[in-house]
């Protein structure tokens, strides 16, 4: 019996230690998506914020839908997500105080090396999707969808909508070629590897899978077009609705992530030999000499759903880098 007492004491001691150790002066609860966390960007840039503000950012990485839900319920202080349509609704409904563009990364269309649908010859992403569908219904290829209301899934649905299919119709696509996975990006890429199928992926997850040599039979068949940009925004949760929120710190976070310095920092994040994120907060003027940044920004000729940069900023940018 005395052993039980000892065990209880030990466990309690460890517990007290753990709980006490975590008594930080300030904590900012941030909801973001799993793909954002998995890209490694946050580990790269957040320490800067934490130092400057003597705070700790507690990152909760879940699916887009769940992140917005956490915001609605006041369980987090700020959101960093990439689901423009849902975000706009979120702010319109009053759950979010404001929505500020932060950066974008890119989607890519990934498929079998042999590219049976001929997406490499497509004019743009929408055309690529049309080809995939034609081949799918003909039985010569397959497509795996995230089917989980994530940002990537929303983007996929956008392309189908340009081809004239609403969500219900998409979900009714024939199962023989259109697979609704309901899983994360990594898992979906693995499925494509196994099934020789196409999918829409974010670049970071794709490069990561390639680096780990997990998808040797897949290739990026389409990418780089502005129609494949994935816009991130930061949204502080409505502090009037949830008084307990660390509103000041959330606003500090907003001003930090949109500051020129941090935007440069984001641009400097390189993984798998690529710059993954392209800062584009309004008013940002790149100080870095990253040609890729400038090129990417200049590729915003026809943007379907988002203004990535206004003309003034574009001009300013052009003038700095000659």
């Amino acid at each position: 019996m005395s052993i039980m007492v000892v065990l209880v004491l030990v466990v309690s001691a460890v517990g007290v230690y753990i709980l006490l150790r975590e008594e930080e002066p300030q904590a900012l609860m941030m909801a973001t998506t799993t793909s954002t966390q998995d890209s490694g960007l946050l580990e790269y840039i957040l320490p800067d914020f934490e130092e400057k503000n003597n705070a700790k950012v507690e990152v909760i990485a879940v699916g887009s839908g769940q992140a917005l839900e956490l915001g609605k319920r006041g369980d987090v202080d700020v959101l960093l997500v990439h689901s423009p349509a849902s975000e706009k609704q979120f702010v319109a409904d009053g759950y979010g105080e404001s929505r500020t563009l932060v950066m974008y990364n890119q989607f890519v269309i990934v498929g079998p090396e042999a590219d049976p649908a001929g997406t490499r010859q497509a004019h743009n992403a929408t055309d690529a999707f049309a080809r995939i569908k034609d081949n799918g219904t003909a039985g010569t290829t397959k497509f795996v969808s995230r089917a989980d209301n994530s940002g990537t899934h929303s983007k996929e649905l956008t392309f189908w909508s340009y081809l004239g299919f609403n969500k219900t119709q998409v979900q009714a696509f024939d199962e023989s070629w259109y697979k609704q996975a309901g899983q994360g990006m990594g898992a979906v890429l693995d499925m494509c590897e196994q099934m020789d199928a196409y999918t829409l992926s974010d670049d970071a997850t794709y490069y990561s899978r390639v680096a780990d040599n997990l998808i040797p039979h897949l290739n990026m068949t389409s990418g780089g077009g502005s129609d494949l940009f994935n816009q991130y925004s930061v949204i502080p949760v409505n502090a009037t609705m949830w008084p307990h929120i660390n509103h000041t710190l959330a606003l500090d976070f907003l001003s930090w992530i949109t500051s020129n310095e941090t935007q440069d920092l984001i641009a400097s994040y390189v993984k798998y030999g690529h710059q993954l994120f392209f800062p584009n907060t309004p008013g940002y003027v790149p100080h870095t000499t990253s040609l890729a940044t400038i090129e990417a920004m200049l590729r915003l000729a026809s943007v379907h759903d988002e203004e990535l940069m206004n003309l003034e900023d574009m001009a300013r940018c052009w003038s700095i880098h000659g």
Binding site: L19, D38, A61, R73, T205, S208
Partner: protein, 218 residues
């Protein structure tokens, strides 16, 4: 593989032990006495209660996570306690899973104690309360087993732990949620390594308990 011997993994492992240990103790201290009472007392609906208990073995853990989430979310009844995304919430979620398991194993353990022992205890003049306590003592090996099974359940829990904990680095990241994240990122080898760590740690706990049993300290 050397990454497995890092301070991060140590921290995550200790938190796993803390959360699961607390959940086991809390869950067992509720589940075992409950199981003993259900197993030993006659009452209307006893069969139904037993069936429900055993059915709860298959209770989806992620639902336990959802329940705790709703209770402790800011929008929820206990939101003002600010317990969401803390180890405490994870302990509650895992406790919900440990209770039916320990209760069920205890029911079986006390039922199996020979009727002649139960009769003799009564015959000797034990009060109903003393009868229950004495039978529990006779079934002690089974009760320890109940707690050990409960611990196994708790330390392997991932869905509920992720949902109410948030897998926050340095706060609520435990071995199982870390494995889930690493797998998601495609680091299969590392995830497997963490899995091995988890099994070895759980094994060490069980070996320690067995040792105590052998030395008759447990």
């Amino acid at each position: 593989m050397a990454d497995l011997f890092s301070y991060d993994v140590l921290q995550v492992t200790l938190l796993s032990l803390y959360v699961s240990g607390c959940a086991t103790m809390l869950g067992s201290s509720i589940g075992i006495p409950l199981g003993a009472l259900v197993g030993l007392k006659e009452f209307g609906g006893k069969g139904a209660v037993k069936t429900i208990t055993y059915t709860m073995y298959g209770f989806p853990p992620v639902i336990s996570g959802l329940v705790i989430y709703y209770l402790f979310s800011r929008s929820g009844p206990f939101g003002s306690l600010g317990l969401l995304f803390t180890p405490t919430a994870m302990i509650f979620a895992e406790t919900l899973l440990v209770i039916p398991l320990t209760a069920g194993v205890t029911i079986t353990a006390v039922t199996e104690i020979d009727k002649s022992i139960k009769d003799t205890i009564r015959a000797v003049g034990a009060t109903p309360r003393q009868c229950v306590l004495t039978v529990m003592r006779e079934a002690w090996v089974g009760l320890v087993m109940a707690a050990m099974i409960g611990f196994g359940r708790a330390i392997a829990e991932v869905g509920a732990a992720y949902m109410v904990g948030g897998n926050i680095f340095g706060e609520t990241r435990v071995l199982t949620t870390a494995i889930m994240m690493e797998t998601r990122m495609g680091h299969f080898g590392y995830a497997l390594g963490l899995g091995v760590v988890l099994i070895m740690v759980a094994g060490a706990v069980f070996m320690f308990l067995r040792y105590l049993q052998e030395k008759e300290l447990l």
